[in-house]
């Protein structure tokens, strides 16, 4: 099972890197979104996949009675999902605003902050 997921994670990483190498902002953002999912799957897999019950302690006991699933990776994934989700939402709005203001979504043409024809610094006093 871990092997299968590892291949899937590798595929996710490949797709996201391919998308991020694009010049279009939208594709880069899609790449970022897929990268986030790849990382989440990676955390999930690195916590080991087991067929086990949820780690709930019964009322009459104070420790787990049977072997239970590891809850920590799930907590980590949840945190990472929330974070990557909010970042994705923010970047999406940002890219949209940038597209409106700059009139392009091509990373090569976004040269407002670093103009191509920047004059050289003064050479003599």
């Amino acid at each position: 099972m871990e092997t299968g997921l590892s291949v899937l994670i590798g595929l996710f990483f490949a797709v996201s890197v391919y998308l991020m190498l694009s010049r279009q902002l939208v594709r880069i953002l899609l790449g970022i979104a897929i990268l986030g999912n790849a990382v989440n799957l990676l955390i999930f897999t690195s916590g080991r996949l087991t067929r086990a019950v949820p780690p709930l302690i019964p009322e009459e006991s104070y420790h787990l009675l049977t072997e239970a699933a590891n809850p920590l990776p799930q907590a980590l994934v949840l945190t990472a999902i929330v974070i990557s989700f909010s970042f994705f939402a923010f970047l999406l709005v940002l890219a949209f605003r940038a597209y409106q203001e700059l009139g392009t979504d091509d990373a090569n043409e976004m040269r407002v902050a670093e103009p191509v024809d920047e004059p050289a610094p003064p050479q003599g006093y």
Partner: protein, 548 residues
């Protein structure tokens, strides 16, 4: 909105969560294995105080977003409290050694621990001083619109992230604090919605998010291998590894190096910094210049010196190479720019290279030098950007071609800028001199001649770059095209220039630069304490795991 607290007149029965879990009584021995049972004094709460104070202050400011006069008062007030809390925390760490507080009483490695040593507390204190000065400066330079869009809330929440990153003892928690400071920094960077800002923020945003995702990948693999995320626990488990098991560790270490190098703006992955740092309001640039990259350097020290020293030794040559490239390209970049802010942006990168050089060497002296350099760089880079803002107010531009005659307008300010320029290029007697001496000493004594050479060459080039800025903006008679001697002194026209807050904030930082330069002994003690705390982490481990 009601708080979830009952009316005091009803019958209050405070109970612990642990009591209500079951019909059976809990075995106290089992509880003691998982939970902290010793009472936590209010003094211990200083560990968490910086993070709590900034969250409370930031949210209060955000709720008062329409009241643009009240916001700076709340913001500066809480930043002042933050400085006091950090100072008390550092005093306590120096007095009692490493402090640990576990969230929700769950003992490490189960719970999230905040572990504060001299390194974390020292950097946190310096960062809070810088943020306090930035808050003061912003009360002049950020207008009502900027305040309504949330300058102070974002500044405070960014400080939550910065303080949390410096103080936490859990590597996943470090990731979370990175993200907190990152999302607040996006807000600060895009404040004002200028075209150049949107352009810069897109690049900054995407590349930094990529960096934190790489950090997360490395952390996931680390968890998969060692099954723990607590830094002290990791440090123990990695130290216990035998030689044949270190293969995976090298991969993880390389990923961490890439991720943190990206955050710290080290050579091949630093293009987001010159693309974005000159776009926002100058006070935002100032805080970023001081804090953000140094958090990356701090994380590098934490991970490579405390957690996986073996991996640092393996990657030492690579880090040294990166350090050389970062220093030289940074200095060349600073020379190639005719705009003050962009030139300063490259100087940040040069400083990062020097700190990386210290990490590459890895001895206690070298790490002390790197920490000292980080402290110096936090103060001096912020001060330089603030000074650039004042230059803009006086001369009307950030471009060297359009600046001139500022010496005549204010000789005192020219002196301050010259002091900061001496400091950033590492000339005595200011704060940049001592860390460079320590780094050079460490590099030469461990035989890394090329790193030492690069450090000296980059310092020399930085001296030229900052000297050129000073000569063009301050020393010559007037802007380009006006013959020397005919230029009239540019009179400070902007009424913001007469505001004491502007000068006070720059003055505090300059005074620190001079003071550290003239009285370096206490700083040397502090940084060598911080460095030996991570190089030989006995105290750190004892603090987290108790006497065991």
């Amino acid at each position: 909105m009601k708080c979830a607290l009952p009316n005091p007149s009803t019958n209050l029965l405070p109970r612990k969560d642990t009591d209500r879990m079951a019909g059976v009584s809990l075995n106290p021995e089992l509880v003691a294995q998982a939970m902290n049972t010793t009472p936590v004094t209010p003094g211990d709460w200083l560990v968490i105080a910086p993070s709590i104070l900034t969250i409370l202050g930031g949210t209060l400011c955000l709720m008062a977003r329409k009241n643009t006069d009240l916001q700076p008062k709340i913001g500066i007030g809480f930043l002042g409290l933050l400085v006091l809390a950090n100072a008390a925390l550092l005093a306590r760490v120096i007095d009692r050694g490493v402090l640990t507080m576990v969230m929700g009483n769950w003992l490490p490695p189960f719970g999230i621990a905040f572990t504060v040593d001299a390194l974390g507390a020292g950097l946190s204190l310096v960062a809070s001083i810088v943020a306090f000065c930035a808050g003061l400066y912003a009360s002049v330079s950020v207008d009502g619109t900027g305040r309504r869009y949330g300058f102070y809330p974002f500044l405070l929440l960014m400080m939550t992230g910065v303080s949390g990153a410096f103080l936490t003892g859990d590597i996943f928690n470090l990731y979370v604090w990175f993200e907190v400071l990152l999302i607040s920094s996006y807000g600060l960077l895009v404040l004002g919605n200028d075209r150049a800002q949107l352009d810069g923020t897109v690049k900054y945003g995407i590349l930094n998010l990529l960096g934190t995702n790489l950090f997360l990948v490395a952390t996931a693999l680390l968890y998969g291998v060692f099954g723990t995320l607590n830094m002290a626990d990791l440090s123990q488990k990695i130290a216990a590894l035998s030689g044949s098991e270190t293969g995976t560790l090298s991969t993880i270490a390389a990923l961490y190096l890439l991720a943190f190098a990206m955050k710290a703006a080290a050579f091949p992955v630093n293009f987001w910094l010159p693309a974005s740092y000159h776009t926002p309001n100058i006070v935002v640039s100032a805080v970023f210049a001081g804090l953000l990259t140094k958090v990356g350097v701090y994380a590098l020290i934490r991970v490579f010196v405390l957690i996986m020293p073996a991996a640092r030794a393996d990657l030492g040559d690579l880090i040294a190479l990166l350090a050389i490239a970062t220093m030289i390209t940074g200095a060349m970049g600073a020379l190639s720019q005719g705009e003050v802010r962009r030139s300063l942006g490259y100087m940040i990168i040069t400083g990062i290279g020097s700190m990386l050089g210290g990490i590459a060497v890895g001895t206690t002296l070298a790490i002390s030098g790197a920490i000292f350099y980080a402290v110096h760089s936090i103060i001096v880079m912020t001060a330089l950007y603030m000074a650039a803002g004042i230059m803009r107010l006086m001369g009307g531009s950030y471009r060297l071609r359009e600046l001139g005659g500022l010496y005549a307008a204010s000789p005192a300010f020219a002196a301050v800028f010259l002091i900061l320029g001496f400091a950033v290029s590492g000339l005595p007697p200011f704060s940049g001199f001592w860390p460079k001496i320590m780094l050079l000493d460490a590099m030469l004594s461990s035989g890394r001649i090329w790193v030492a050479t690069a450090l000296l060459v980059s310092s020399f080039l930085t001296t030229i770059a900052i000297g050129r800025i000073w000569i063009y903006s301050f020393w010559r008679g007037g802007p380009e095209g006006i013959a020397d001697g005919t230029a009239i002194a540019l009179m400070p026209s902007d009424k913001a220039l007469s505001s004491p807050a502007l000068w006070l904030s720059l003055g505090i930082l300059t005074a620190l630069v001079i003071f550290i330069g003239l009285q370096p002994e206490w700083m040397l003690q502090l940084v060598s304490r911080g460095a030996s705390g991570v190089v030989e982490p006995m105290g750190y481990l004892r603090s987290v795991f108790g006497g065991a």
